[in-house]
Amino acid sequence: MSIEKTSINRRSFLKVSALAGGGMVLSFSWLAGCKPTPKEVLSMPKEWFELNSYIKIGENGAVTLFSPNPEFGSNVKTSMPMILADELDIDWKNVFVEQADFYPERYDRQFTGGSQGIRQGWTPLRTAGATARMMLVNAAAQTWKVSASEITTGAGTIHHKSSNKKAGYGEMASLAATLPVPEEVKLKEIKDFKIIGTSKKNVDGLKIVTGQPLFSIDHKVDGMLYSSIVHPPAFGIKLKSFDASSVKSMQGIKDIFSVKVFSEDYERNFFDTATFPEMVAIVGNSTWEVLQAKKALKVEWENAPQSSFAMTDFGGNKSTGTIPAGLENSADHKAKMAEYTTKPGNILRRDGDPEAQFKKAAKVLERTYSAPFLAHNTMEPMNCFADVSGGKAVVYGPTQAPESIMGTLVQALGIPKENIQINLARMGGGFGRRAYSHHMVEAALISQKVNAPVKMVYTREDDMTSGVYRPTYSATYRAALDENNKLIAFHVKAGGIPETPIAPNRFPAGAIDHYLAEGWQIESNITIGAFRAPRSNFIASAEQSFLDELAEVMEKDPIAFRLELLDRAKTNPVGEKNDYNAARYAGVLELVREKSKWNSPLDNVHRGVSAYFCHNSYVAEVLDIVMKDNKPMVEKVYAAVDCGIVVNPDAATNMGEGAIVDGIGNAFFGELAFENGVPNKTNFDKYRMIRQAEAPKAIEVHFVDSKEDPTGLGEPFFPPVFAALANSLYKATGRRYYDQPFAPQLEMQNLKM
């Protein structure tokens, strides 16, 4: 049993009454379309009693749980309330779930990203559930005049055995809500979990399959205007002038003006990556009308000179960011990256004397890998609803990071944060893209200017060409072997535009005596941002492809080879800073070996393996390819994952399946290139996305049975897929694939893609 001090999450226990003077207008069911649907047995209660920020209970026993984090498809809106519900000890079928608004006074970390929602929410949510349960028990103890320690709970009822008294939570809720918050609460033993570890269906499932308005792009209020934007057509270009009269008289058009996201002296934060801080906004009566004006608008652009801005990073350190001038080309990027791979980089880690070992090596294997820029291409394009008037703002949109955009809104609108309400929409995908939420600032500025509620929507073309991409990367791996074909030194040098992908203390660091990691980066005005497992999504593909080839050169089985290295890292690690657990790493490789029957593959199946650790979780994957009519088809993928306790197994499996499909798609097809600063793809006709027929025919996800606290899940499945695919393609075609995407190379081999 663990005892949690409730103080760790004190602000979650603020009561609404205590906040009444705080100036913030609270509206939980702010959207009519997001009203909870009564589920099964219970009807809506007459009155709700709030026990803390996450939990309110009706007099009839219905329970509303507030899901604090924004939902972008990883299903936190179901799994976070499951954690609350288990400790609260209620029946899941009596639960309504509501998306909490952005409300930092009540919730600690309303951020979706880095696969941290469940990991960091685990103890606070359990504590909140257990605390509310304790308050209900205390209310019963007071009412029945018995000791709280003799009271038990189960499925939303309170029971005192010796006096045979029983009550539902609803009967005690009004008193419980007035009682003091206990200083300490007991959390459940893992074995007593009733909801955690069982599969619960998506709480929004019915709304999704019936097309209810869940996304901000679906939002509408009376008097709302529609808006579209026109942003510079290339990186390195900015707005010079526009001719409002060219469209002003068009049907349904109300206004045309430019908006600026940053004021001159604004100090940007880590997520303030706005590719085009100035753009033209067109406002009108309907989407179609503003889209016609968007096409007709006459705009002049000019080359943007180098510029700089003040910024504060995560740790509060101040620095100056620079945006170089120029119109960049992918061909130049490639040439520059090739040049950097031959120059010394910044040394990020050195163990032993790798240079000397390479000098005396009998054999050196050296390979260079690369991957292009990628667009996130969330299915719902960037958009936002805003209603700014009378010195107040309501902003409702898709954001992974409301806290980071609040300050940006404050400076852009000139409205203090007390008067800005950010409400969290379900997102039609995020993948990191919506941690950068300048679409909210743009919508708010547009609404402020026209003094009316506005919904601003990017076209797909706007979305795909407005930056914040996954960077392009390159990595060169070298391995030194002695005359007995034994690995004696290992060297990685990797970089990218504009960041290096290396995590220098991850495997295989720690497993090799002589090890060197170097990084480099090249500046660019093409904006980049987090993309599902940032950096890991490339470096895993390079490293795990290289280890596969190295194992072959060393005449070892690729899984056995990795396990040997991990055994060294476990029993006699090199260096002290290794930031992975070698035993857990080996555990997923062993599990995937067993589940895939690695040692007895089916005929005609070509298989590759890969494993990676990131976001606190371990994943190993085996990918099977069969050649059908000269076309490589992914037949099956086996994944083994160690992410601690799994809260919602079927939903976790869904995440795993999706990430694997996503990885296969990006490895085969994903690519954005540039010519004179212009992205070469603007929509799904050219930007090839994985589709139904290319998805694996089957995916098996196996979880390591674990009692560890839960860790990340949305990202860790993604990085290993690329190399699992490359390694199996090698088996299928006899060729190694070093450069993503793979499809163009396969086509050059006259294979169908």
Partner: protein, 151 residues
């Protein structure tokens, strides 16, 4: 601007819009039927799929003036309570992640199963290939189509 009479989900609706306006925007902006989604605007993603007389079409490519007396069905009109066999299968397999593509996927699946109630796997793959799911829920989509076919 011109007036158009549309038969949508069994009801007759009148809208006054520019004749070139795609059905997608008529549904979303003028009739508050936002279950039909915008994804690409060029018939490349399937998010905007609706039925015209039972046939799946991309509403982003369908000017409202081209519609003559055909019956339009959107995701909102598929069933009263989300109990169309395809919707039920979607819930059973807990298909959605973000959910944004799913109404288009469901509309494609419903029209397809009407034509081919007993499809093979390759037929399902072929029929569903025009609908992108960025979240990668393809396996569950396929499983749900099969479940619906068997019900």
């Amino acid at each position: 601007m011109a007036k158009f009479n549309l038969n949508i989900n069994g009801k007759s609706k009148e809208v006054e819009v520019d004749a070139a306006t795609p059905l997608l925007w008529v549904l979303r902006d003028h009739l508050n039927l936002t279950g039909t989604k915008y994804g690409c605007g060029i018939a490349a993603c399937g998010a905007c799929t609706v039925h015209l007389d039972g046939v799946a079409v991309r509403s982003c490519q369908m000017p409202v003036s081209n519609i003559e007396n055909q019956k339009i069905t959107t995701i909102e009109g598929l069933s009263e309570n989300g109990d169309h066999p395809v919707q039920k299968a979607w819930l059973e397999h807990d298909v959605p992640q973000c959910g944004y593509c799913q109404s288009g996927q469901i509309m494609t699946a419903v029209a397809f199963l009407k034509e081919n109630p007993n499809p093979s796997d390759p037929e399902i793959e072929n029929a569903m290939n025009g609908n992108i799911c960025r979240c990668g829920t393809y396996l569950r989509i396929k499983a749900a189509v099969k479940t619906a076919a068997n019900s």
